[in-house]
């Protein structure tokens, strides 16, 4: 088994992403099901990086003729991670906004009737 430079980048990046998943789960920003889902995704990418031949097998199964183009692969990887981050952030902002408007409403109403 020969680990190329590209494999190494994916491995380091994958390890970083898994650590983020774990930290988010610990910080209660991610549910257990979510943590399992994202760990599974990154773990699969890990496996593919260590055993590139598995991706050829996968490519055969889904019917892609040639192996993954490295630039495309890294771009998709990055985009995937960025969307994941963006979704979490957006969701948090949306929840904060709701909480804020609820708290303001309750407070204003309480002050008004006193």
């Amino acid at each position: 088994m020969k680990i190329t430079f590209l494999n190494l980048i994916v491995l380091v990046f994958g390890a970083f992403a898994i650590s983020r998943v774990f930290l988010r789960f610990r910080g209660k920003e991610l549910s257990l099901a979510g943590a399992i889902f994202w760990s599974f995704i990154w773990f699969t990418i890990f496996i593919v990086a260590i055993f590139p031949s598995s991706s050829v097998e996968l490519a055969k199964i889904i019917g892609i003729g040639r192996g993954a183009d490295s630039a495309f692969f890294i771009s998709i990887l990055l985009l995937f991670y960025l969307i994941f981050r963006l979704y979490i952030k957006l969701d948090k902002i949306d929840k904060d906004l709701t909480k804020l408007s609820i708290e303001i409403s309750k407070k204003l109403h309480k002050n008004n009737i006193q």
Binding site: S31, G34, I88, S101, I102, S105, K106, L108, K110
Partner: protein
């Protein structure tokens, strides 16, 4: 009302329901329910004024945040300030019948369940449009799969919460997904529940104002994402 009667509060989330809110509140008053809390969810019409005119207490959302958020405001406010025995959630658009509340109150007062859920499918009278019926049935199967709980009507805004449910249920979904979330919470908080047959009247107004059928796909996706993220 005697000393031993439960303290019942009706929470009505309302967004641009100025045309019907007054009538909805009066129908509740006719059945002698006096603690009515309308959560005006950032309406741009006369919902707030008309609800006041009809004699309800009104909490205002500065911006529109959705029905789930409005219910959360109402339930949290009562939990923090009024010590309610029972909170009934009731739609603003006149679909629900005030006379049905008694059935919910009886179940909770007798301690038969922590939360009572209205079901339009257990009642014979409801005039549910066919497509809506199919979608609601799919919702029931979906909820069974996602929340592992068997109910006959997941998206009915008519329900009553007893003390345990009032204290424990947490609504985090601000839109219509809150209805599925409440079912999820029943399972999570180990609450006992019963279903109550309720008549739901679909008027031309409520069909226009109510949820669009396509919304249910969005609700499904949001519930799956909630589980994953």
């Amino acid at each position: 009302m005697s000393e031993t009667d439960p303290k019942i509060y009706i929470v009505i989330p309302a967004y641009n329901e100025g045309k019907v809110i007054e009538q909805t509140i009066l129908s509740l008053k006719n059945e002698r329910y006096s603690n009515i809390l309308v959560v005006n969810d950032g309406s741009s019409d006369k919902t707030k004024e008309n609800a006041h005119l009809a004699g309800a207490e009104v909490i205002d959302h500065i911006i529109n945040r959705g029905q789930g958020a409005a219910l959360r405001t109402g339930i949290e406010y009562l939990r923090e300030n009024s010590d309610p025995d029972i909170i009934v959630t009731f739609d603003a658009d006149g679909q629900h019948q005030a006379k049905d509340i008694q059935k919910f109150v009886e179940l909770i007062s007798k301690g038969e369940c922590d939360i009572a859920l209205g079901s339009r499918f257990l009642a014979k009278k409801s005039n549910i449009p066919r497509l809506r019926k199919i979608i609601l049935k799919l919702g029931v199967i979906f909820t069974r799969f996602i929340s592992d709980i068997a109910v006959t009507d997941t998206h009915n805004g008519f329900r009553a919460l007893g003390r345990k449910a009032i204290q424990s249920i947490e609504i985090t979904q601000r839109g219509m997904e809150h209805a599925s979330e409440i079912i999820d919470e029943i399972k999570k908080r180990k609450l006992s529940f019963k279903e109550v047959p309720v008549e739901v009247i679909y008027t031309e107004y409520s069909k226009i104002k109510g949820q669009k059928n396509s919304n249910f796909v969005k609700i499904g996706i949001k519930m799956i994402l909630k589980k994953l993220l």
